[in-house]
């Protein structure tokens, strides 16, 4: 192929880093955004597209797309459900909870005793607090039915204001 160089050969990591800096605020809203980036970075449009494709393949980019303001599209209730789960079962239960269609993120995180006993975090987005709470109840019922004594406590933290949402900003 006519590719001038590959990531492993020369400067690919540096080009990736500069691509992150150039696009962390967003993709240019012009007819040929990859050509605009190439112009800015002093490489070819084909290289920009190749590097983006490679970063998508490696997982360095999750996806290229739109990030909606959840409130604006009707998901007005954003509940962070948190669970105090037996350490021996938290990974297995996390897999089950993440697989529920209405859970948008699911992570295991460390407890901060004594203030914070919860080690499993699962985000629920819904049109109302009632709907979100009903979904949290579904999660509780699922855990209880399959792992009767694994969950010691849970809570839901609703967001009441977005204070900042700029996304990643590397210097």
């Amino acid at each position: 192929m006519s590719r001038p160089r590959t990531n492993a050969e020369a400067g690919g990591d540096e080009l990736d880093r500069r691509l992150v800096l150039a696009t962390q605020g967003g993709l240019p809203l012009v007819p040929r955004p990859y050509a605009a980036l190439a112009n800015q970075l002093g490489c070819t449009e084909a290289e920009v597209r190749e590097r983006l494709a490679a970063m998508l393949a490696s997982g360095a980019i999750r996806r290229i797309g739109a990030v909606p303001n959840h409130y604006a599209i009707g998901y007005t209730a954003n509940g962070m459900s948190v669970w105090d789960i037996d350490d021996a079962l938290v990974d297995e239960i996390g897999e089950h909870v993440g697989a529920l269609g209405f859970i948008t993120h699911c992570y295991r995180r460390p407890r901060q005793l004594p203030d914070w006993p919860y080690n499993l975090f699962a985000m629920v987005h819904a049109g109302s607090r009632e709907a979100a709470l009903a979904r949290v109840d579904e999660v509780a019922a699922l855990i209880h039915s399959r792992f009767p004594h694994a969950c010691r406590a849970h809570d839901v933290l609703f967001s009441t204001a977005i204070l900042k949402k700029t996304g990643l900003r590397l210097l």
Partner: protein, 164 residues
């Protein structure tokens, strides 16, 4: 004085509702954005919109904060960087000052107020793993309040797609 301190002004609420075409466009832009020379034209072709209209609508959706962002979503852990969820218990009387102090760090990517004694939850995004502790320490110095870090120990698979 002068500056209105209304809580609304501190929030980032959208200033309008997306219309039916906006919703169709937002849904189409949740998945794979084409890596072709004219990707907006390609997206438009699928939806029956011109390239100009796709670009104009995206500009307007971002301007009106219906979208918070349009572009690549990076997992900087895969590139040597780090993300970390953090929380603070902020006294109500000190709320505005602490919001400004926390938000002043470029490392603070999102920040939400939540219903709990830990009432401020934010995400730190840094170019290296060491940057997380450094940013947390700077916030503690700026605010005089402890920052609790909740690093991700494991991520469970989810199918994240919200219908607009």
């Amino acid at each position: 004085m002068g500056e209105p301190a209304a809580p609304r002004a501190r929030g980032l609420a959208a200033s309008r509702e997306p219309d039916a075409v906006d919703r169709k466009l937002i849904n189409a832009l949740q998945g794979d954005f084409p890596l072709v020379e004219q990707p907006y034209a390609a997206v438009g072709a699928r939806l029956g919109l011109s390239e100009d209209e796709v670009i104009a609508r995206l500009n307007s959706l971002l301007e009106d904060r219906v979208l918070t962002r349009f572009g690549p979503m990076f997992q900087i852990e895969r590139m040597g960087g780090a993300f970390c969820l953090a929380a603070m218990a902020v006294p109500e009387s000190d709320w505005d000052r602490v919001v400004d102090a926390v938000n002043s760090l470029t490392e603070v990517a999102h920040n939400y107020r939540r219903t709990h004694a830990f009432n401020m939850w934010f995400v730190l995004a840094t170019g290296s793993p060491e940057g997380i502790a450094d940013a947390a320490a700077r916030i503690e110095t700026l605010t005089g309040l402890p920052v609790h870090l909740f690093p991700k120990e494991r991520e469970f698979f989810v199918e994240m797609k919200l219908d607009a």
